[in-house]
């Protein structure tokens, strides 16, 4: 599944493409015609990070998880509550939110990974639904459906000077881009390390991996925890963009978006998933469809992809490249 992104990491063309993308992304607020466009690009960064989390657990470790939206919302609530009720700074709160998500995923994963892969899907789904129910019903902690409004904007300071101000669209964009790039780069590095290759090995053949001394359970658990960390951090920063957190953060819409991005990009294909985050965030804005029509379109894209291109765009292109290489030999 992940073979394509594993060999020859930086051919010249890809290096050029990535540098061009980096320049475009970094300078976007400078030439973006309006704050609206910058806002959409910011949202795309959040989807890119959260989907990368899903890609780690599904694309690399082969465990289809619906818990990603749960960790996204859990991170959001933890950071919002720490800032409003306990006076934490946004940055400390985001760090704590990540830690809470990792801890929760380890506790949950210990139970959920004992069952079959089918049951794992349903249990991760129930985890997200349970968190949404708690957010709605545990009103003394979460204020229920009213949500927690009035969240401050994060700032990046150097001494007394404010370098980036999250109150402005471009300031928040650069904050999101910086944090997102950091998380994505760290994930890329980890996936190319021994640990990441072990994730793939466990996915391809559990027994073969075991015979090589790779603990299947430990690697599945750590992939799950890594996805939880990524999703939690993304959600924790995302609430400061919204300025309010309510049970809508667990909306099935987010789960569907992450899944569509990973499936169409290609599970286990790192860069295509990042690319699709931008495509699927921009597409509905370009088409200006009613929400129902947008979801019908997304559903059809999902059906067509899984029917004719089950490995996604990344897998399809890698397949074609391999076939061409074989033909020329």
């Amino acid at each position: 599944m992940a073979a394509a992104s594993m060999n020859s990491p930086w051919p010249p063309l890809r290096r050029l493409g990535l540098s061009a993308c980096a320049v475009i992304l970094f300078t976007l607020p400078l030439w973006s015609p309006s704050d609206y466009i910058t806002g959409i690009a910011t949202l795309a960064i959040f989807f890119a990070v959260a989907s990368t989390g899903l890609n780690v657990v599904y694309g690399y470790a082969g465990l289809l998880s619906f818990a990603q939206v749960g960790f996204w919302g859990l991170g959001a609530y933890v950071s919002a509550l720490l800032v409003t009720d306990h006076g934490f700074s946004p940055w400390t709160a985001i760090g704590c939110a990540g830690a809470v998500c990792v801890f929760t995923s380890l506790a949950g994963g210990l139970a959920a990974l004992r069952v079959s892969r089918d049951a794992f899907v349903v249990i991760t789904l129930s985890f997200s639904l349970l968190l949404q129910l708690l957010a709605r019903s545990w009103t003394s902690l979460t204020r229920g459906a009213m949500g927690i409004p009035g969240l401050p904007s994060p700032q990046v300071r150097l001494g007394d000077a404010i370098l980036l101000d999250g109150n402005t669209a471009s300031g928040f964009y650069w904050i999101a881009l910086g944090c997102g790039a950091l998380v994505v780069a760290a994930t890329w590095w980890l996936l190319r390390s021994r640990v990441g290759r072990a994730f793939v090995a466990v996915n391809l053949d559990e027994n073969l991996a075991r015979s090589q001394g790779i603990s299947v359970f430990l690697h599945q658990l750590s992939a799950f925890a890594l996805s939880a960390l990524i999703g939690g951090l993304a959600g924790a920063l995302y609430v400061f963009k919204l300025g309010i957190v309510d049970p809508g953060i667990f909306d099935i819409y987010y789960a569907q978006m992450m899944l569509i991005i990973v499936i169409v990009g290609g599970a286990g294909h790192f860069w295509f998933v990042l690319l699709m985050s931008f495509v699927f965030t921009a597409l509905p804005e370009l088409l200006r469809l009613a929400p129902e029509l947008r979801m019908i379109l997304f559903g059809l894209v999902l059906i067509i992809t899984i029917q004719f291109m089950p490995q996604g765009l990344g897998g399809y292109l890698a397949d074609r490249r391999n076939r061409m290489l074989r033909r020329t030999e």
């Binding site: 129930s126 349970l130 129910l133 899944l259 129902e292 019908i296 059809l300 029917q307 089950p310």
Partner: protein, 288 residues
């Protein structure tokens, strides 16, 4: 008195959950696909009944029958177009495919039908019957009647007919079924038709009990998942027992506790089950 009323109400709901859960479990047993579109199929049944009763003046019983048939036809189309192309060992593909189908069906229903909840008024609404001194809404009693009759009929079909035994054989041992000359694509089609017909019937008989709207399938789908997990994946009697357990615990939690506790009951039962029997009540204990 109060507790017995709660238990009776719980059993009523459990019987209806069983219709949905058994269909889901049957499809899983034969195709190894966790059908994420099952909730939307249930919704289709309810909307079809609302349309037939509200606009075409059907009586409740023929409308329920026609709805179930229509939904089964829809299920068969889904099977021919999509589900039969999913091979064994591609269960993630099946989940994503059915999820996509569910997204399309649900949003198409919202787009064409509107998201406003409707009340379906049938000739049996707003009447009560007496059951062992307890009052039950007639419409719920009829729904339970449908559930009992169709699950019994399913049981007889699966155990007494060649047609049903083929379905069981395929879900128990696929290779052996192939060896004796069964055609899995035909048998799996039958299982999908039965499973979706049951879900459509459940939607139709529940339509007058609750309000009808395109989003009604999502919460009930999750309950059906929980039922299938608790009962053991692909185990039909397990699904029936689990449905009754969920129905009664929800009813007790709602009556003696609070509405939030009622919503949480299904999670609590599921967590407890996973602690003590991770493979479900009647699971075979194998890791797929």
């Amino acid at each position: 008195m109060l507790v017995s009323t709660l238990i009776l109400n719980g059993l009523v709901m459990g019987a209806i959950y069983a219709l949905i859960g058994v269909g889901l479990s049957l499809i899983f047993g034969v195709l190894e696909i966790v059908n994420f579109a099952h909730g939307q199929i249930y919704t289709l049944g309810a909307l079809a009944l609302a349309l037939l009763v509200g606009h075409f003046g059907f009586g409740f019983l023929p409308a329920a029958f026609v709805s179930a048939l229509g939904v089964a036809a829809f299920g068969y189309i889904l099977y021919v177009l999509f589900l039969q192309h999913i091979r064994k060992g591609e269960f993630e593909r099946g989940i994503i495919l059915t999820l996509g189908i569910g997204i399309v069906v649900q949003n198409a229903l919202i787009y064409f039908y509107g998201a406003t909840p409707q009340i379906v008024d049938t000739e049996f609404s707003f009447r009560d019957i007496n059951f062992l001194g307890l009052r039950v809404e007639m419409i719920k009693a009829i729904a339970v009647g449908f559930a009992i009759v169709s699950i019994t009929a399913l049981h007889l079909v699966l155990t007494r007919t060649r047609f049903g035994m083929a379905i069981r054989a395929l879900s128990q041992n696929r290779e052996a079924a192939l060896v004796v000359g069964m055609r899995p694509e035909v048998v799996a089609g039958h299982a999908v038709v039965i499973g979706t017909a049951l879900a459509g019937l459940a939607g139709a008989v529940l339509a007058p009990v609750f309000t009808v709207h395109p989003l009604m399938g999502a919460p009930i789908l999750f309950k059906a998942f929980a039922i299938v997990i608790i009962g053991g994946l692909g185990h039909l009697p397990g699904a029936v027992v689990a449905s009754l357990i969920i129905g009664v615990s929800e009813s007790l939690a709602g009556g003696l506790g609070s509405a939030s506790l009622q919503d949480a009951a299904v999670f609590l039962v599921m967590i407890a089950m996973l602690q003590f029997r991770p493979m479900g009540l009647f699971g075979k204990g194998v890791r797929i």
